[in-house]
């Protein structure tokens, strides 16, 4: 057994991340079981999720061993493959048995023995590719240099949007922002871009109420969903309760009904059954968790995600490998924003756009890719820093030695 294999067993922050992931998966399986009990015909999703979890752990372990340089070296080909798979989804002549249309979306490739969701892989590939691209660069410190990273993002983001899977695509910009901030992009550039994004979003929302239909940018159903969320959350308006806002209204109600300690498994399954919450084992799993475990369970999930993200940031801080650093930041951002999007939908803070809760929601592709992230994190955290490694992302003191950071203990010092 090599040194790296042994070092994987050392207690590092990555294990905290992994334990958080396992805890979230356990909560997820319990919630899926509750949702399953509420179904008229039991679906067995909880049992299947346990199988996916086992597979996810195997994938996690498999990802823990390859050297980061090898991973980085395949990041571009992997990104290319993912984009090709996304293109396959959109090709008009694809047979239905290979690319089924489910709920009007072409998100899955059915290999008969296995169904894969390329957008989940593409999000991972995007993080790896951007991290590999930025690892030794400083070009993103000027405005023109930002074009290429954004270009890398737009390719899969547009393809995913066309599926359509807005929830999948909408996560990419904030992840890129986080990675660029970590990679040393100038904050004023980032602030300007963020201001533009916020201004566009705010004006789009305002236009729903101000502009005539002929001048609207968003599609009708998108406007209705935004309007439904605003009315239901801020004005307690019941206009959309039986139509566009039904799912969100049910989810909010079930979250609130959970109270402090929740209904418990049996009662919660009854409440869920008669409230007919759509997607209760998937996108709306957070509502099931809070309904069953109450605010305690809801806070636990939020807390586990925050701890997990802090773990990634800590690993990133301790790592000397710029690729690993950015990948960990990308993972943290990806998980955090996906969590806020998903839980925000259930709590009425974000319109329904379709995003699952990583590690928790039912779904094989999502779970396996999520554990792939954990495997890579274990891999990066267990690596000894290269003694001759170049200083990365330190653009303020190019000629100075890197002083020891207060509050961060160097990984090398622990070896």
């Amino acid at each position: 057994m090599s040194d790296h294999n042994w070092s994987l067993l050392r207690p590092t922050a990555a294990w905290i991340v992994a334990i958080c992931a396992l805890a979230l998966s356990a909560i997820g399986i319990a919630a899926i079981h509750t949702a399953d009990l509420s179904a008229a015909n039991p679906t067995g999703f909880a049992q299947r999720q346990m199988i996916w979890l086992a597979l996810g752990i195997i994938v996690m372990l498999a990802c823990a061993f390859p050297h980061p340089k090898r991973i980085g070296a395949v990041s571009w080909p992997f990104f290319g493959v993912c984009c090709f798979l996304l293109l396959i989804l959109l090709m008009p002549f694809m047979p239905r048995w290979l690319v089924p249309v489910i709920n009007g979306s072409r998100r899955w490739i059915d290999l008969q023995v296995l169904t894969i969701q390329p957008s989940e892989m593409a999000r991972l590939a995007f993080i790896l590719a951007v991290a590999w691209f930025l690892r030794h660069r400083g070009s993103h410190r000027n405005l023109h240099g930002l074009l290429l990273p954004f270009g890398i993002m737009f390719i899969p983001a547009i393809l995913i949007t066309l599926e359509p899977d807005l929830g999948g695509a909408i996560l990419m910009p904030p992840v890129l922002f986080a990675m660029l901030i970590a990679a040393g992009a100038k904050l004023r550039h980032m602030a300007a871009l963020l201001t533009i994004v916020i201004a566009v979003a705010a004006s789009s929302i305002a236009s729903i109420y101000v502009l005539p239909d002929s001048m609207q940018v968003l599609r009708g159903y998108q406007r209705a969903r935004i309007d439904a969320t605003i009315r239901q959350t801020f004005f307690d308006d019941q206009t959309y309760v039986q139509t566009t806002g039904f799912q969100q209204d049910r989810a909010r109600t079930l979250v609130g009904a959970g109270g402090v300690s929740g209904y418990g498994a049996e009662r919660s399954s009854v409440i869920l059954r008669f409230n007919r919450l759509p997607e209760n084992h998937n996108d709306m799993i957070y509502a099931v968790i809070v309904n069953r475990f109450g605010m305690v369970g809801g806070m636990a999930v939020l807390g586990l995600f925050v701890v997990m993200c802090f773990g990634w940031l800590y690993i990133s801080a301790m790592s000397r490998d710029p690729f690993a650093r950015l990948v960990c930041v990308g993972f943290a951002a990806q998980m955090f924003f996906q969590m806020t999007l998903n839980t925000g939908m259930s709590m009425g803070l974000v319109p329904i756009i379709g995003a699952n809760l990583p590690f928790v929601s039912y779904g094989g592709s999502s779970l396996i890719i999520s554990y792939c992230l954990i495997g890579l994190t274990l891999n990066f955290a267990a690596r000894k820093p290269e003694i001759m490694a170049r200083k990365s992302f330190e653009f303020e003191h190019p000629s100075e030695d890197i002083p020891k950071a207060r509050g961060f203990k160097s990984l090398s010092s622990s070896t």
């Binding site: 609130g256 925050v306 992302f393 330190e394 961060f408």
Partner: protein, 784 residues
């Protein structure tokens, strides 16, 4: 200056985290913490602050309500004869999938998928349809056998069953069309674009999943047989029996009006001589009580809005809608007119309910509260007898040559007769009211032409489209009439009670109120014969119906006091009798601001005193004003229901402070009118001087009236309004006669009979003989 603190802060941060990368990570961490705190706050808000509200909403879906129908109160006449009852019976109802044929299709689809399950996914739609068609006939034959069995058991022929199925399909298709239209509109309102698929819009409507009554009023034996078949089907897997699961025997209540069509023999021996026949006339009466009792109709959205079953959520009622078990739901019925409408709240009752907890299947029940039964003061047989006598075939309600004095200028005759005037032989329209003076009870309230329920059901256009005869108008309570001379009695009573006129005082009739201007404000005797009445005392003036006498009283009283007296007699006001009525109209006091609210002039007072000008009211109001005179100046609301208090109707007994000698004086005038040769209700002058009243053993005190009426128009320009631009279809004078009648031995009048006939001419000649025949009817029914 401001940059300094920022710089200092940056220096501190750099001291703590000297590496830029670490600082950026801290920035991201801070961002994560801030967003997480916001999310945690929202979670706490939902689960702690608003938990109760959300829990109530989430748990509200765990219970379901089954509504238990109630019984609408019955309506009986004064002798307990049922006029309207809810009949509880059982209907055979069939699921719509059997009526639409969808059941056979779905069964065939299921069978085809089962047999060809391995290749089903690869089959093209046309191939699937082909396979479905192969299995379909078997199930269609099963449905046919079911209909045959239903036909045999219920006695409803297959042809009739087909007709009923067609009717149900047509009705459901109509509802479906309107529901889909609403769904599409709602979708368009929400997303501003039509749906790309039919999903959502194509969800079956309630009526497509419900059971529909196909055979009504099952007898007991059939009900038991059908119930045992449906019960058997529930516990059986036999394919032949399964179809009976879609059949259900359901309890039902139906509003029935059990008054049968009757043939009434009319003795014409006491009729005016030209109408007498040797054999009793047999008149068929159908629906004498229809306008009074009323009808039911399905509720409209306005009814539901007025008293909804589910009251909308408000801040006061909390989050859950408040249920009113007596409120209206789609599919309910409501009174359409008559007593069914006016007593709706008492008759309706309140549903019961069974609340079932879906998770535990525990239930709590609340029994239905049946509607109150209503006992009327109406005598159905008297009503039918009067209706029969007022049938045009009997002759009294048909224009006769002796009704109107013909002169050379009469526009009815000649080469181009005025067809807007009633021609001899034309059927007449009008109404009659009989009141018990002592109690104010309405014994009969008849409207001509009669309205039968059969006609309403079979040929509603002949009812609602008949703008000339308007059979849907209840002329006893639902039509305002110009009162003509009938109100002179009230003017006299008022004037004498106010001291404007005294017993023994006379007024000289000179033909016109102002002899210097004889073209206006003339007496009828001067207009027709160029004569005058001379000096008259009040009773004789009333008997002769002298206009000049009452012009003077009106002038001396003044408009305000004339109106006050009309109001004291209840004229121009709702009568609170229990049946919905018109209020009539009286000019109200006020400054002369617009043409509609005139201040009063002397001529207003003068015209109002003889029943012209801006006064009109219902026949019931006139009858009740005479009843008040008959009671010695005591005003009471007339009533059609016996127990007014139970129905929330006010009980009023108000002394109008008319001295007894004044009452006696007025009644003397009415007595002279019908019992002295100069009285206007004494004889039929154009029919050889025959007496109008010929009922033996009773004393009749009557007053006639011939009131110039507002012409009847129809909406000839189709603008939805009747205006003076629209074409006149009937004009002339309304004929009135109101009689107080006293049995032998009675000190005071016992009954009031009031009759008014539209555009018919002379009150005494047209309405007098009808009042006389009503008195004969009262005698035949034992009242006199």
């Amino acid at each position: 200056m401001e940059a300094r603190p920022v710089s200092a802060m940056m220096r501190s941060i750099k001291k703590i985290w000297p590496l830029m990368f670490h600082r950026r990570l801290v920035l991201l961490a801070v961002m994560f913490v801030v967003i997480s705190l916001l999310w945690a706050a929202q979670l706490a808000s939902l689960t702690v602050v608003h938990a109760d509200r959300h829990r109530e909403r989430a748990e509200s879906v765990l219970e379901t309500r089954e509504l238990v129908p109630t019984r609408r109160g019955a309506i009986y006449d004064r002798y307990g004869r049922p006029l309207a009852v809810d009949r509880v019976s059982h209907d055979l109802a069939v699921n719509f999938s059997l009526i639409s044929g969808r059941w056979a299709y779905l069964r065939a689809l299921r069978e085809a998928r089962r047999v060809h399950r391995h290749q089903w996914a690869e089959l093209a739609p046309a191939e699937r349809d082909h396979l479905i068609d192969r299995y379909r006939p078997e199930y269609e034959a099963q449905v046919d056998r079911l209909w045959e069995e239903i036909s045999e058991m219920t006695g409803v022929s297959l042809t009739e069953l087909d007709q009923r199925k067609d009717e149900i399909r047509r009705r459901v298709a109509q509802i479906r069309g309107s529901v889909l239209h609403r769904r599409l509109q709602r979708r368009m309102e929400e997303v501003d674009e039509p749906p790309t698929t039919a999903a959502g819009l194509a969800v079956p409507i309630r009526e497509e999943t419900e059971y529909h009554a196909i055979a009504e009023g099952l007898d007991e034996e059939t009900r038991r047989r059908l119930e045992s078949l449906t019960l058997l089907a529930r516990g059986s897997d036999d394919p032949e029996h399964i179809i009976w699961r879609l059949v259900s025997v359901q309890p039902s209540t139906r509003r029935e009006y059990p008054v049968d069509k009757v043939v009434i023999p009319i003795d014409t021996s006491t009729f005016p001589s030209t109408l007498r026949r040797s054999e009793p006339l047999r008149i068929e009466v159908d629906g004498a009580e229809t306008l009074l009792v009323g009808l039911m109709r399905p509720v409209w959205s306005e009814d539901i809005a007025r008293r909804p079953f589910r009251r909308p959520r408000t801040a006061d009622t909390g989050r859950r809608p408040e249920l009113d078990l007596g409120g209206y739901l789609v599919g309910d019925t409501i009174g359409r007119m008559g007593l069914e409408l006016s007593l709706e709240s008492s008759l309706r009752g309140r549903r019961g309910e069974r609340v079932i907890q879906l998770d535990t299947m525990e239930s709590t029940s609340r029994a239905p509260e049946p509607g109150s039964d209503v006992h009327l003061t109406l005598d159905l047989r008297l009503q039918q007898r009067i209706q029969a006598m007022m049938h045009p075939d009997a002759g009294l309600m048909r224009s006769q040559p002796w009704h109107l004095r013909r002169d050379v200028h009469d526009p009815r005759y000649g080469e181009n007769p005025d067809r807007t005037l009633v021609q001899p032989g034309d059927p007449l329209t009008g109404g009659a009211v009989v009141l018990d003076v002592r109690t104010g009870e309405i014994l009969a309230a008849v409207s001509v032409p009669q309205l039968s329920r059969a006609q309403l059901e079979d040929d509603p256009r002949s009812v609602w489209g008949d703008v000339l005869n308007r059979p849907f108008v209840n002329r006893a309570v639902g039509l305002n009439w110009k009162p003509g001379s009938t109100l002179k009695s009230m003017v006299l009573a008022g004037a004498m009670a106010d001291g404007v006129h005294r017993v023994g005082q006379t007024i000289n009739c000179t033909g016109a109120l102002d002899p210097r201007n004889p073209e206006i404000m003339r007496c009828w005797i001067y207009r027709q014969f160029g004569q005058t009445h001379g000096h008259l005392e009040a009773p004789e003036a009333l008997a002769r119906s002298c206009n000049i006498f009452f012009y003077v009283l009106g002038r001396d009283l003044g408009a305000r006091r004339v109106i006050d007296w009309y109001e004291r007699f209840g004229l121009g006001q709702h009568q609170q009798s229990g049946v919905a009525d018109l209020s009539g109209s009286l000019p109200r006091s006020g400054p002369r601001t617009t043409s509609n609210t005139p201040g009063f002039t002397q001529s207003d007072a003068i015209f109002m005193a003889i029943g012209q000008g801006p006064v009109e009211w219902t026949l019931l109001q006139s009858a009740n004003a005479y009843a008040a005179l008959g009671r010695g100046g005591i005003y009471m609301h007339p009533t059609i229901v016996r127990d007014r208090e139970a129905l929330g109707l006010p009980v009023v007994r108000q002394d109008m402070a008319i001295p007894p000698d004044v009452i006696e004086y007025v009644l003397r005038g009415l007595d002279e009118s019908s019992n002295t040769s100069y009285g206007t209700t004494y004889r039929l002058s154009l029919l050889g001087g025959e007496r109008i009243f010929n009922v033996p053993g009773v004393r009749v005190m009557a007053k006639s009236g011939t009131a110039q009426a507002v012409p009847l128009r129809w909406d000839s320009d189709g603008d939805g309004r009747i205006t003076t631009r629209d074409q006149i279809i009937r004009q002339g004078s309304h004929a009135w006669c109101i009689a107080l009648v006293r049995r032998e031995g009675s000190d005071t009048p016992d009954y009031v009979v009031a009759v008014a006939v539209e555009f018919a001419g002379s009150g005494g000649a047209v309405a007098g003989p009808i009042v006389n025949q009503i008195l004969h009817a009262l005698r035949a029914e034992g009242y006199l």
